[in-house]
């Protein structure tokens, strides 16, 4: 059992059905702070990755990677004191996926932060698409840490108990998650699809948002694809320059005065050719930032889809109520507005008795009342969904603008430093070439 820190400043919101063991673990205070997030109280890091082998669900040996999550109380360390040792546990990628699915189902009105990609996509030729490749594992580690930090700094998600346990409870977490029964709440894809096509009064704002998320998805995909091609070509240019290195070196061997100058020109070419590896590695970080928002676009789309479903169900309930009311009216007044088989058969095969009619009317009355209740509930549900969703969407928009702006600025800075570095090389090379005495 992980100890989340032995101090009274830890304040988290939990469900009241806390177990005794958990309360034993110093989870004393249940003070509520408006807008508090877990991140203010807890430092979270994903520090290491390790290979493990084990038997999977079909009893076959497999190799997988686990990541070390370190948590530590975020209180400041007094002068001269040593920082507290962090609590740690290991998690593999599939457990992160499970957590995310849980969050998706439990908070359908929230744009859930995305996980780093499962498999390497948008690769340019040199990068390996192997999940066990150390560079890929490293970038995934960073991505997983980022995911945890995003959730922990979210005003709503950070208060989730399951999330807290994910960070603190290594072995029994899986059971606890499955016990919540969240998997029953997963909407079927088919249901979502049919809802998309049958909604009568779509909310304009959500339609616009759906359209935006589709565009974002498409443009970032395109950007990542072209970027990979650009990287591939640039790699080619740099590497061909490396061929100069050898020929200059060979040439310098037959020269007397020019020999030294040519040698250093050759070395410069070799260095230049080798520099591309670092340059492209740095650019991968930028690509990862873009990928995060590519996946975020999907999360936005999820929220829109959920709204469609809720809207559709609301409309269904409303429609149902309308038809019941009509039936009641028909029955009460005897007029037939809408054709019904029953009405026709009763006309053909004899009127029903007064008793029968009255019992039917009563049943309809009740059904109508129930329907009205359901409608009210659904309406409230829908309104609540819309309210909370738009709150989160607003937050997301600001976050996105901030993050992407920062990403673009750091991309520009990266380009500048690349120019400076290459120029620096060229300055030195120009000096070397002046050594070519006549």
């Amino acid at each position: 059992m992980a100890d989340c820190g032995s101090n009274e400043e830890v304040a988290v919101i939990f469900n009241t059905d806390i177990t005794s063991t958990e309360s034993e673990n110093n989870l004393i205070n249940t003070m509520v702070e408006i807008g508090a997030t877990l991140l203010r109280k807890m430092e979270i890091n994903v520090t290491e990755a390790e290979k493990r082998t084990g038997k999977n669900t079909v009893n076959m040996q497999e190799t997988y990677t686990v990541y070390l999550i370190e948590t530590r109380s975020a209180e400041t360390v007094p002068e001269g004191g040593t920082p507290t040792t962090p609590d740690t546990l290991w998690r593999r990628y599939s457990e992160f996926e499970l957590l995310r699915t849980y969050l998706l189902v439990t908070y359908p009105y929230i744009i859930i932060p995305p996980l780093p990609e499962k498999r390497a996509e948008f690769v340019w030729h040199k990068m390996s698409a192997d999940n066990l490749d150390p560079d890929f594992v490293e970038r995934r580690r960073v991505g997983l840490e980022n995911f945890l930090l995003r959730v922990a700094s979210h005003p709503v998600l950070s208060n989730d108990k399951i999330f807290f346990l994910f960070l603190t409870e290594e072995k029994e977490w899986r059971e606890v998650v499955l016990e919540t029964g969240f998997q029953d709440k997963v909407d079927s894809r088919l249901k979502s699809l049919s809802a998309m096509f049958r909604v009568k009064n779509p909310d304009k704002r959500f339609t616009a948002l759906k359209h935006y998320s589709d565009e974002l998805n498409s443009v970032i995909s395109q950007l990542l694809r072209v970027r990979a091609k650009v990287a591939d070509r640039l790699y080619g240019v740099y590497k061909v320059h490396g061929n100069y290195g050898r020929v200059f070196s060979e040439w310098s061997a037959i020269e007397k005065e020019m020999g030294d100058g040519l040698q250093s020109a050759g070395h410069h070419m070799d260095t230049f050719a080798a520099s591309i590896d670092d340059i492209l590695e740095e650019e991968e970080h930028y690509a990862d930032q873009l990928k995060e928002y590519l996946f975020y676009a999907e999360a936005v789309r999820s929220v829109c889809r959920k709204h469609e479903l809720i809207q559709y169900e609301l409309e269904m309930v409303a429609q149902d109520l309308v038809s019941k009311k009509q039936q009641k009216e028909e029955l009460a007044t005897g007029t037939v507005r809408v054709f019904s088989l029953k009405g026709m058969t009763s006309k053909l095969f004899g009127q029903e008795s007064q008793e029968q009619r009255e019992s039917r009317l009563a049943a309809l009355e009740q059904s109508t009342r129930e329907g009205e209740e359901t409608l009210k509930e659904r309406n409230t549900e829908c309104q609540e969904f819309v309210r909370t969703a738009w709150e989160d969407i607003g937050r997301f928009k600001e976050q996105k603008d901030r993050d992407l702006r920062e990403a673009l600025i750091s991309y520009a800075i990266m380009q500048i430093s690349m120019c400076k570095k290459t120029k620096g090389e060229d300055d030195r090379s120009a000096e070397a070439r002046t050594e070519l005495s006549i």
């Binding site: 935006y212 565009e215 974002l216 443009v219 970032i220 395109q222 950007l223 072209v226 970027r227 091609k229 650009v230 070509r233 640039l234 080619g236 240019v237 061909v240 320059h241 061929n243 100069y244 020929v247 060979e250 040439w251 037959i254 005065e257 020019m258 100058g261 020109a265 603008d401 992407l404 702006r405 673009l408 600025i409 991309y411 520009a412 800075i413 380009q415 500048i416 120019c419 400076k420 290459t422 120029k423 060229d426 300055d427 090379s429 120009a430 070439r433 002046t434 070519l436 005495s437 006549i438």
Partner: protein, 438 residues
Amino acid sequence: MSVGAPRSLASSGQKPIAEILHPLSAAEEQLSVTVGGDKEAGLTNGTPVETSSPASTSSLLNRLQLDDDLEADIRDPYAEAAETRDLFVTVDDPKKHVSTMETYITYRVSTKTSRVEFDLPEYCVRRRYQDFDWLRIKLEDSQPTHLIPPLPEKFVMKGVVDRFSEDFVETRMKALDKFLKRVADHPVLSFNPHLNTFLTTKDLNKRQGLALLSKVGESVKHVAGGYKLRARPAEFGAMGEYLDTFNQKLGTIDRIAQRILKEQSEYLTELREYGTVYSSWAGSEDELRRPLEGVGGCVTTCCGALEDLGDGMSQDILPVLREYVLYIESMKSVLRKRDQSQAEYEGRLEAAVLRKQEDRTPMPLEVEKCQDKVECFNADLKADWERWQSNKRHDFKQLLTGMADKNINHYEKCQAAWESLITLLQDKQTEDKTSETN
């Protein structure tokens, strides 16, 4: 492409070759001036000669009288030559001529000179490539012991290269200009009567000259044929080896340069597309529109800079490489002629020695003439070799520093673009912040 002023006059036949200091050599020692013997009496300006003597003694004497300073600074022959140069030539102003038979380009050849061999101080004639070719053939045949600078390639595949495109004409004109300047700066070639004709005559009557020349050329070959070279002096063997290796290296460098141009052009295509994706993304954003447009703009600027770099490479670098490949071919053919000349001498010597042993006749005159020929040839060749080496070092230093400069320039342009973007974005940030606090 100029050379130092002639330092002394060589006389052939009366001194052993080791003591003769060639007017074209870069030696530092105090040089003696001796007027050539009667063997040279037949040489006057304007006569095509068979033997390999330096330019007529009278003109050389004139030059020496004009020059006060014989001690040249060998470390900077170009600066020194500029002061003493008295023949300036330029090739420019290409014009297209359309006639019923053919279409061709002529160039303006301008001459400014104070030499007495020229009637006027200034000349201006129009010449086409054929005329330059004529001049070169004449020079080669009349000065077989000297290295004649190369011309740009004569034939271009009509389908592949546009003979009248601006780039092609420009490149060819620069090469023709270089050729003429090299000839004009050569202490012996510049006094060749054919050069004089080329620079001054309005209408070159080429057919006559060529016919006469081909006869002369043949007789030289006839005499030299049938003798085998006994032992080539080591230094000429070394020259041959050097040229072979150098040729190989130049070929490799040319291939690498072309490959780089190709890779760069493919990179450019992808980079252009990359820039447009940012611009199209900007269309669907509000806050991010400016940063995205900014990044797209920077990428486009870099594309422009890259295009310029590529153009620079094909215009300035590839022609020099090609020129030196042709130069090497020229030099190798001169070396072969030298070998032939030596072979002839050895053959005659052997025959004469045998006869001498038999009937004690003195060394026949022809053998002595041959010996002179060989010795002069060797001296001319060595001097030209030194000059060629020196030109080569200068040209390649210029080439390599030029390459480095162009690259530095390119990265500076790119860096400036990205830096201005950052300033723009950061200004906007502070702008937003101040408006928030207000």
